[in-house]
């Protein structure tokens, strides 16, 4: 790889140990993937934040990096394993909380903004069209590439941290025009509405892409989509298909930039949506947990929930997972009070995918296809998908 003098100096250790190790990671990846040089990144989003995933080993690595490492660009974190203010109410044990805070302290020492969210684009870590970034959370990677038109590969925890500590990423993969054109044409012949349905659509497309061995769909037939619907779709298609980029005609900014794929195509009809929805509802489910906010709930979704919960009481454990800054807006707007008066709980900074809640509940109802996947695989819950309205109906019944 061709390195600038500054990059070479980092690799030689002139910027300290952490920058050296980081540049080793980035140049090695660059050489593996035939990058010719590095590009500067505008911002970074780091995964591998929950202590449940990091363990002592990951923490030790972070502490080693934090000895002399300092971020050079705007950097935020993925969800942690707990709400940093409200963990006791949510039943997280003391030992876990202590360890989780040790990890967050290490990130803070490096100058990282310790806002823990899978929706960095909703809380100010927001690139513009065409900018290079290094993000790790799979749903956010898909959102930034597709909906914003920024450019990132699917980074892992250590490689994203390496970009934060150097301000660079190797120029390969989704950073290049050549690798961003649609590969499979997907025609949607049904009306798709709501976060749950967009999640179902994401699963259909994701599963199909895995079968085809392809990554980038070009989707037609969706006339309009909200940010909330798109973030749900991104989470789902990334979970089921490993997709980091899609184009949606009339919706995403690069849909006109590359030719529509013609060779490989498939159709999605109402029957496909119905069938896949039924796959996200387990038989004999006994729901004792309802959660909204995968990916993290937007202020729009929280307002909607406040409206639906007003004057009601939830009869099941109900978590709204969101970013801390979004929760603060909800506090100011009075939504939090309405929601908490109804007995629902905020779980800020965290989510049901990374919190240590394995086997704590029998059945979870969610509006997210991604949450269904991890509810089953990681937490061993039975799952049911439904709209936000249906979730609240279930919780208050």
């Amino acid at each position: 790889m061709k390195l600038t003098q500054e990059e070479q100096d980092m690799l030689d250790g002139k910027f300290g140990k952490a920058a050296k190790k980081s540049m080793e990671i980035l140049t090695t990846l660059g050489e593996i993937f035939d990058a010719e040089y590095m590009v500067e990144v505008y911002g970074v989003q780091i995964a591998g934040v929950s202590y449940a995933n990091l363990g002592e080993a990951g923490l030790e690595y972070l502490n080693e990096m934090a000895e002399d490492g300092k971020v050079r660009v705007l950097t935020t974190l993925n969800p942690a394993g707990m709400d940093r203010e409200n963990w006791q109410t949510l039943g997280i044990d003391k030992e876990f909380a202590k360890n989780q805070n040790r990890a967050i302290d290490a990130f803070a020492k490096m100058g990282i903004i310790t806002t823990c969210s899978c929706t960095p684009y909703l809380i100010g870590n927001a690139p513009h069209f065409g900018q290079h970034i290094a993000w790790a959370e799979s749903s956010a990677v898909c959102y930034s590439n597709s909906v914003i038109g920024a450019r990132t590969n699917r980074e892992g925890g250590p490689s994203a941290l390496a970009s934060a500590l150097t301000g660079k990423t190797p120029y390969y993969g989704y950073h290049l025009d050549n690798n961003r054109h649609g590969e499979v044409l997907v025609n949607v012949n049904a009306s798709v509405k709501g976060t749950d349905e967009f999640g179902v659509l994401g699963k259909i497309i994701g599963d199909k892409l895995v079968d085809l061995g392809k990554k980038i769909p070009y989707i037609t037939g969706i006339p309009l989509a909200t940010i909330e619907e798109l973030k749900s779709f991104c989470a789902s298609v990334a979970t089921y298909g490993g997709t980091a980029l899609f184009h949606m005609e009339g919706i995403t900014p690069e849909h006109n930039k590359y030719p529509k794929p013609t060779e490989i195509k498939f159709e999605i009809n109402q029957a496909d949506l119905d069938k896949t929805r039924s796959e996200l509802i387990d038989d004999d489910i006994e729901i004792d947990f309802v959660s909204i906010g995968c990916p993290h709930a937007s202020i729009h979704e929280i307002a909607e929930m406040a409206n639906l919960l007003k004057g009601k009481k939830v009869k099941k454990e109900f978590w709204i997972t969101t970013a801390r800054p979004t929760k603060r807006i909800a506090d100011e707007a009075g939504y939090s009070k309405i929601i908490e008066n109804a007995g629902a709980k905020f779980a800020a900074d965290t989510c049901c995918v990374v919190a240590p809640i394995k086997e704590r509940f029998k059945g979870i109802m969610v509006d997210s296809a991604k949450a269904c996947y991890y509810g089953r695989a990681k937490n061993k819950f039975k799952v049911k998908i439904g709209s936000i309205e249906e979730c609240i109906e279930e919780a208050t019944r």
Partner: protein, 129 residues
């Protein structure tokens, strides 16, 4: 017999090879405290990879696997070197942060479990003694 591949991480190590045709997921697939493969149905299930040259086609699974490799290195349960047919990012990053010599682009069908081999990550070579 000496094979030339691609250098992934520097350093030289000599040890007994343990070879598998299956992919390896360090997160969830290996117990970092014992160094044993715990993935159900894996060709190496129940066997230890500690202190050996681990030879497998490519990595798979969660990106947390890089941290698992680091943990194994600290626990003294890590393999002393890794040889892959085609490296993936998880194992590459794991080798770099854990400082485990690694070479890829090697036809691993030439290596058999139990053979003594030397991995030279700085040169990108693998020698079967």
């Amino acid at each position: 017999m000496k094979f030339v591949g691609r250098k992934i991480y520097k350093g030289i190590a000599e040890a007994e090879a343990i070879v598998t045709k299956d992919g390896i997921s360090f997160y969830g697939g290996i117990d970092p405290d014992t160094g044993k493969v715990v993935e159900v149905g894996h060709e190496l299930e129940g066997q230890s990879i500690s202190g050996k040259v681990l030879v497998f086609p490519t990595g798979k699974g969660s990106t947390v696997g890089s941290y698992t490799m680091y943990r194994m290195k600290k626990n003294n349960t890590a393999p002393v070197a890794i040889v892959n047919k085609e490296i993936d990012t998880i194992v590459a990053v794991g080798c770099i942060i854990s400082e485990i010599p690694c070479v890829d682009k090697i036809d691993i069908s030439n290596i058999k479990t139990g053979q003594n081999i030397i991995v030279n990550g700085s040169e990108g070579t693998v020698e079967v003694k």
